[in-house]
């Protein structure tokens, strides 16, 4: 049993290392040019956002529309710190301070609002994100509506990859633990979870805090890549975009969120050339996908590396079936 597990871990490691090296080589070779690097960055950041929102909405069942708010806290914190301390140390401090600050706000906001259910929680979190945005417009340190410029760039593929993999591992491990089980039980039936002795408020708040923490990281990476921040980047639409990725990928599927984040960003990059029609086509695609896969691309299932094994297995069994058929035909002749 343990051996199989280790084998899987080694395979995962090789898969991750290969992904990292291949992309890194493509960047060196300039096949992924500056423009495509923007796409790559957006993909990584969206993966962090979507996977963390999936923990809140997909796994714990709490409909939140406030993810852009948490992201903006991470972004501004990191920007303000790196503007004053433009070193790699400042960047790290910025990312972690941003994440912790976002988590703290998640805690403060979550404690009272997570007593609400469904639509009410969505409205409350939406309100929270708007309040945060308006605070940033009115603060001096954030330079109001004009925003912050010339933020030093530290985010690159290496950091994106590390933080992205870190987030996904954090959340998948959390979900596999008893705590994750408790969160899923809350989604399935809150009253039943309560009567099993699960402290539902506590787990809802924990999911909210972890989600906010990761959104803070995503925001910090964003700030440190795109040089420029203004409050309007983090409006209602940003939260909705993240939610679209989560729903499209499948509520309750981490790999679904990852796939959807990649897919949607690639689609929107390709659509850049149809500037006027872009949003129309994008929206149309969403409608079509939701019509044919209402449960999202993955439903609540996960793809793992075992897919390759299964593909191999299917191929083998298919071949042997063919062989058998061939042999039986031969026999008849």
């Amino acid at each position: 049993m343990k051996k199989i597990f280790e084998k899987q871990a080694v395979r995962k490691l090789i898969f991750l290392a290969l992904t990292f090296i291949i992309v890194q080589l493509l960047i060196y070779a300039d096949i992924i040019d500056a423009y495509l690097q923007n796409t790559l960055t957006a993909i990584c950041i969206n993966i962090i956002l979507a996977v963390s929102l999936n923990l809140i909405t997909g796994f714990t069942g709490q409909f939140s529309l406030g993810h852009a708010g948490f992201m903006s806290i991470g972004a501004y914190t990191c920007a303000i710190i790196t503007l004053r301390m433009p070193t790699i140390f400042g960047f790290f401090l910025g990312v972690f301070a941003g994440a912790i600050f976002a988590a703290l706000v998640g805690f403060i906001v979550g404690l009272p609002t997570l007593r609400l259910r469904g639509d009410y929680l969505a409205i409350a979190t939406l309100g929270m994100a708007e309040i945060i945005r308006i605070i940033f417009i009115n603060l001096k340190i954030t330079n109001g509506a004009a925003g912050l410029q010339n933020i030093p760039r530290f985010t690159n593929w290496t950091w994106l990859f590390i933080f992205m993999v870190g987030t996904v591992l954090l959340i998948t491990n959390f979900l596999k633990s008893t705590h994750g089980r408790a969160c899923i039980a809350i989604r399935e039936d809150e009253i039943a979870a309560d009567s099993m002795g699960i402290n539902t408020t506590k787990y809802k708040v924990i999911a909210f805090i972890i989600g906010a923490f990761c959104a803070g990281i995503a925001g910090a990476l964003y700030a440190s890549y795109f040089y420029f921040l203004k409050p309007n980047i983090f409006d209602f639409l940003k939260s909705v975009n993240v939610l679209v990725i989560v729903v499209l990928g499948g509520l309750g599927s981490v790999s679904g969120s990852i796939l959807a984040a990649i897919l949607l960003e690639i689609i929107s990059t390709f659509l850049q050339s149809f500037s006027e029609l872009r949003m129309v086509i994008y929206a149309l695609l969403l409608v079509v996908i939701m019509l044919f896969r209402p449960q999202g691309l993955m439903g609540s299932k996960e793809v793992t590396l075992a897919v390759f094994n299964r593909l191999g297995g299917n191929l083998k069994s298919g071949m042997s079936k063919l062989e058998q058929r061939f042999k039986s035909k031969k026999g008849r002749v």
Partner: protein, 234 residues
């Protein structure tokens, strides 16, 4: 084992339970019967900590647990199979049962109790890998009771276990309830199916619009004219 004294419960301005008092002794099956809206479910929800009473005391083994949380009450041995089954539909039967033992740390005890649940409900053993949402109504009810047993309760609350089930299944469920009781678990049963409930119960209380109006042994109440007229259709 369990004693309720003058419990008052309100939903907003509505006074649902009007100072009810009753008790459940060790090893008994006690049933609360009454019409829709009498406050039966509210009684169970309040005792298991899902709803806060405005006044009154809840004693478990002589200790006042009125101010404790629902989690604490599960730890102390109260287990509640809520109304309408409320199983976790997208989890397997086994995962549902494991969640019933959520607060327990003794792995061996959990394995033993899992076996015990499978003995009471062999069908659950056959279906352990199946998603709970795909079970039939009767099987879901069995799962809900099995899950409640997994916390190794001293006292088990069953809320309308016969709801929506075919008559022969109701009979089966009630036989299992009797067996669980014989194996040593005290049971507080809430039912609309008064005749079934009175047959299995040692004692019963009749709840009418938030007050207890009658009490006695199961067979006593079965004979009572009032009960016959109001609840047994004769």
């Amino acid at each position: 084992m369990l004693e309720i004294r003058n419990m008052d419960v309100h939903y907003g301005v509505i006074h649902v339970l009007k100072g009810i008092s009753f008790m459940v002794n060790d090893g008994e099956i006690v049933t609360l019967i009454g019409a829709n809206g009498a406050g039966k479910t509210t009684t169970l929800r309040t005792i298991s900590g899902l709803k806060k009473p405005r006044n009154g005391t809840i004693l478990l083994d002589g200790e006042d647990i009125t101010a404790t949380s629902a989690q604490e009450r599960v730890k102390r041995g109260i287990s509640h199979a809520p109304e309408g089954r409320r199983i976790f539909p997208d989890m397997t039967v086994l995962e549902n049962l494991e969640l019933g033992a959520y607060l327990r740390k003794d792995k061996e005890g959990i394995t033993r109790d899992l076996k015990m649940v499978y003995e009471h409900f062999p069908i659950l053993s056959d279906r352990k890998k199946q998603l709970a949402g795909t079970l039939s109504g009767g099987e879901q009810q069995m799962l809900a009771i099995g899950r409640a047993l997994m916390s190794r309760p001293k006292i088990l609350f069953l809320d309308e276990p016969s709801m929506g089930l075919a008559p022969f299944l109701v009979q089966e469920i009630f036989n299992i309830i009797k067996n669980i009781n014989k194996a040593g678990t005290t049971i507080l049963l809430v039912e609309q199916n008064a005749s079934m409930a009175l047959q299995v119960a040692h004692r019963a209380y009749v709840l009418e619009t938030g007050s207890i109006v009658l009490s006695g042994t199961g067979s006593e109440l079965m004979q009572s004219d009032e009960i016959k007229k109001a609840y047994l259709g004769g």
